[in-house]
């Protein structure tokens, strides 16, 4: 080979490598952007019990569907391309088929990678989402009626959902029984949303990130601090000087 053809060969070689590297980088960039976009979970998609939080879940789930196969109630589904959930990952829609809260949690047991936490042993400790009574204006109990269905179907009745009595201003003489969800008990199984009698459920289970607020880390509630310390942290009653106008008697 003479030097000119070897130079041409070298150029071709380098061009090939540069092309491949360039396409690969473009591909990585595109994938990354796409991955970022698809990261947010739609409000009606809930993860199986024991799922790691969403950021860690999408690194851990290999999309094998073993949890789907383990689910005895066909609750879980693998997302298909075109669905709004990260392709191939498991989810359920409470309004369609809620989680039946199997005591042995077969779906989490079936997970090979730990995307669903095998250590979850008590299904009542699962936090798939949180039920929120999102629409008080259509909820029948808020109209003073006794629907109570969400309360009745709750697997943790009187713990996750309670009925709180309130005066019915409209009639002036009746009580309203307000379904009230308690986040420290609600597993997000979705039975309440599934069975809400309205055409569109007034109570919905939302992913925790959407359902929960968070108190500022610096914020202290006085009465709790008092409980913790066993005594008031400041003087119980602050004596303020009484200032009267000079002329007053």
């Amino acid at each position: 080979m003479d030097s000119s053809s070897s130079a041409a060969a070298r150029r071709r070689f380098l061009q090939g490598i540069a092309g491949a590297a360039g396409s690969a980088s473009l591909c990585a960039l595109g994938l990354s952007l796409y991955a970022r976009q698809t990261r947010a979970l739609p409000a009606d998609a809930l993860r199986p019990p024991g799922a790691l939080d969403e950021d860690r879940f999408s690194a851990a789930c290999v999309r094998c569907g073993l949890c789907v196969r383990a689910c005895p109630y066909d609750t879980l589904k693998l997302s298909e391309p075109g669905d709004n959930v990260v392709t191939g990952t498991p989810y359920f829609v409470a309004r369609k088929i809620p989680c039946e809260m199997c005591p042995d949690i077969p779906c989490a047991k079936a997970c090979p990678t730990g995307a669903l936490d095998k250590a979850l042993s008590d299904i009542a400790a699962a936090r798939m989402g949180l039920a929120v009574l999102v629409d008080q204006e259509t909820c029948l109990n808020y109209q003073g009626l006794r629907c109570d269905v969400c309360y009745r179907v709750c697997p943790l009745i009187d713990r996750a959902i309670t009925l709180e009595l309130r005066h019915n201003e409209r009639t002036g003489k009746h009580a309203m029984f307000i379904p009230t969800v308690h986040a420290d008990q609600c597993t997000g199984c979705g039975k309440c949303e599934r069975s809400c009698v309205l055409d569109e459920a007034a109570i919905k289970v939302l992913p925790l990130v959407q359902a929960r607020g968070a108190l500022g880390a610096h914020y202290r509630l006085g009465w709790k601090e008092k409980e913790k310390a066993g005594r008031a942290l400041g003087p119980e009653v602050i004596e303020l000087p009484v200032r009267r106008p000079e002329a007053a008697p």
Partner: protein
């Protein structure tokens, strides 16, 4: 060098007959000229049938899909490349998945890395069909990306996983998508699979499997050390018909074994152990053996 040998020999043959299998069929019969192809299709269909027996017939021999599965409630198998991406994304997988990946790696170190591509992967059927259709339709044009692209893409998918903290490649990976689609619902996956088919048919001959797919690239890296290999043991009988080059999805792997003076064994990780060269050769030059088998029959 390699491609020049293939190109020099091919036109003469192409003029004689359009099928690279004509000579083999004449010598060994239709069945003999398709032995390994038929075996591969049985393997691919059989594995799919094992997965489908559950959802279709309630016979749960194998659960899951190619990403991760559980056979007979005892044998875990996990795609090691997928687990590597998961690791790059920042998750240390549970012991079941790790064990499953080790078993798969061990298996392909024995059976030949890209044996996965030829004997298991469902997309292979798609791209083989595209290649066959190209030949039937006489489509000769096409531009293939450089062969090294898949290795760059392999790196790119790991980089994307690391950068986003998600298994980004699985958003578009047609390999897992096809299986998942058949077993759990296809959704719009058909569009991606259709794109792969059209890419192979109209844009790049043997484009996807031999140039792009990072899954294949991963198994090719394993294949460099794999035990079961194809050997051109009877290279002396070669009559330079070039049929093997024409059927081979990775023709460059054949040359050193067939024409080189050193080892008769095809050592390149790119070789998929599909056995198509064995089928296509009317002189029975090729055979399956192990990589340490250096025998070459005297011509």
């Amino acid at each position: 060098m390699s491609s020049r040998v293939a190109r020099a020999a091919a036109p003469a043959v192409a003029a004689e007959s359009s099928s690279p299998l004509a000579a083999a069929i004449e010598a060994k019969g239709v069945l003999g000229a398709h032995r390994w192809l038929i075996a591969r299709r049985w393997s691919q269909a059989g594995i799919l049938a094992l997965f489908l027996a559950g959802p279709w017939a309630g016979l749960w021999l194998v659960k899951g899909n190619l990403s991760s599965s559980l056979t007979l409630e005892v044998l875990p198998l996990t795609d090691p490349y997928l687990l590597l991406q998961s690791l790059a994304a920042g998750h240390v997988a549970g012991s079941t998945a790790a064990l499953g990946a080790l078993i798969v790696v061990a298996f392909y170190l024995l059976a030949g890395g890209r044996a996965y591509c030829a004997w298991v992967c469902p997309v292979n059927v798609l791209t083989d069909t595209a290649a066959w259709l190209r030949r039937k339709l006489g489509l000769r044009r096409g531009r293939t990306p450089p062969r090294a692209l898949r290795y760059w893409l392999l790196g790119a998918t790991l980089a994307a996983a690391f950068a986003t903290g998600t298994i980004a490649w699985e958003l578009v990976n047609p390999v897992s998508m096809l299986y998942r689609g058949i077993l759990f619902g296809l959704g719009l996956a058909w569009a991606i699979l259709g794109a792969v088919f059209l890419f192979d048919l109209l844009v790049a001959p043997r484009g996807w499997c031999s140039h792009v797919c990072p899954v294949g690239a991963f198994y090719a890296l394993l294949g460099r050390f794999a035990l079961v290999r194809v050997s051109a043991r009877r290279s002396g009988a070669c009559d330079d018909c070039a049929d093997c080059y024409r059927v081979c999805p990775e023709p460059h792997v054949i040359v050193p074994a067939l024409k080189g003076a050193a080892s008769p064994v095809i050592r390149s990780g790119d070789c998929t152990n599909c056995g198509r060269c064995i089928d296509a050769c009317s002189k029975d030059v090729f055979r399956f053996t192990i990589r340490f088998d250096q025998r070459r029959d005297p011509s």
